[in-house]
């Protein structure tokens, strides 16, 4: 599946660990993935990564929304 498919399949604040099946070697865009693990916890996902065999080509992403209504963001670094 594509990365966009992952967002559709797991729409509710999930951390998803994916095996990268196909990556464009020129642009480094990820073109095809396979879900390996889905969790509500980022730490759980990182634990899973640590237990993967050496050399596994994997990707992580979060599917949830970010700011809630009434929240704002103010942060800049110089």
């Amino acid at each position: 599946m594509t990365v966009n498919d992952v967002y559709e399949k797991y729409p509710d604040n999930k951390w998803v660990l994916l095996r990268v099946i196909k990556e464009n070697q020129e642009t480094h865009e990820i073109e095809e993935v396979e879900p390996l693990f889905v969790s509500d916890s980022r730490d759980e996902m990182y634990e899973k990564i640590n237990n993967l065999p050496e050399g596994d080509h994997v990707m992580t992403l979060f599917t949830g929304p970010i700011l809630k209504e009434g929240e704002a963001f103010a942060f800049s670094f110089v």
Partner: protein, 140 residues
């Protein structure tokens, strides 16, 4: 991959969020705030550690925020991909945002300086295109 890519955003949201794929030991898709006021990209400790990038506490930079001046480690991300554009060796400072913010960090000028940008709040559209002086798809 075209010369120009665009992102739709919600102008009423108060921030512009961009997905950035960070290539290290793993590829992490991070959600960063588009921030032309930030000299460097900024990423949290946990994410950088998961990428397998060593954080050298002796390699630091002084950073000025709206309220304080602090010292933060600086690292290099081997490849960062945003909207299909890849840049190699992007300097980032390592610092956690409050977890309540729900975003990973900032997409600052250490990445954005390689591009032309157009932000149209009426349309809710951010357009990124390669600087004319830079032709390769992957910018070194």
């Amino acid at each position: 991959m075209s010369e120009k890519e665009s992102l739709r955003f919600d102008p009423s949201a108060g921030i512009i969020l961009i997905d950035a794929d960070l290539h290290g030991r793993v590829i992490e898709r991070s959600r960063l705030v588009f921030d032309t006021g930030a000299t460097y990209c900024m990423l949290p400790w946990k994410l950088v550690t998961a990428l397998g990038i060593e954080i050298n506490q002796n390699n630091t930079i002084q950073t000025t925020t709206a309220s304080t001046i602090e010292t933060s480690p600086i690292i290099t991300i081997p490849i960062m991909t945003v909207l299909g554009f890849s840049v190699k060796n992007v300097s980032c400072i390592v610092r956690d945002l409050p977890s309540v913010s729900g975003v990973d960090g900032l997409l600052g000028l250490s990445f954005l300086k390689h591009f032309k940008m157009k932000v149209d709040f009426a349309k809710g559209e951010l357009e990124l295109s390669r600087s004319r002086r830079v032709f390769p798809k992957i910018i070194l």
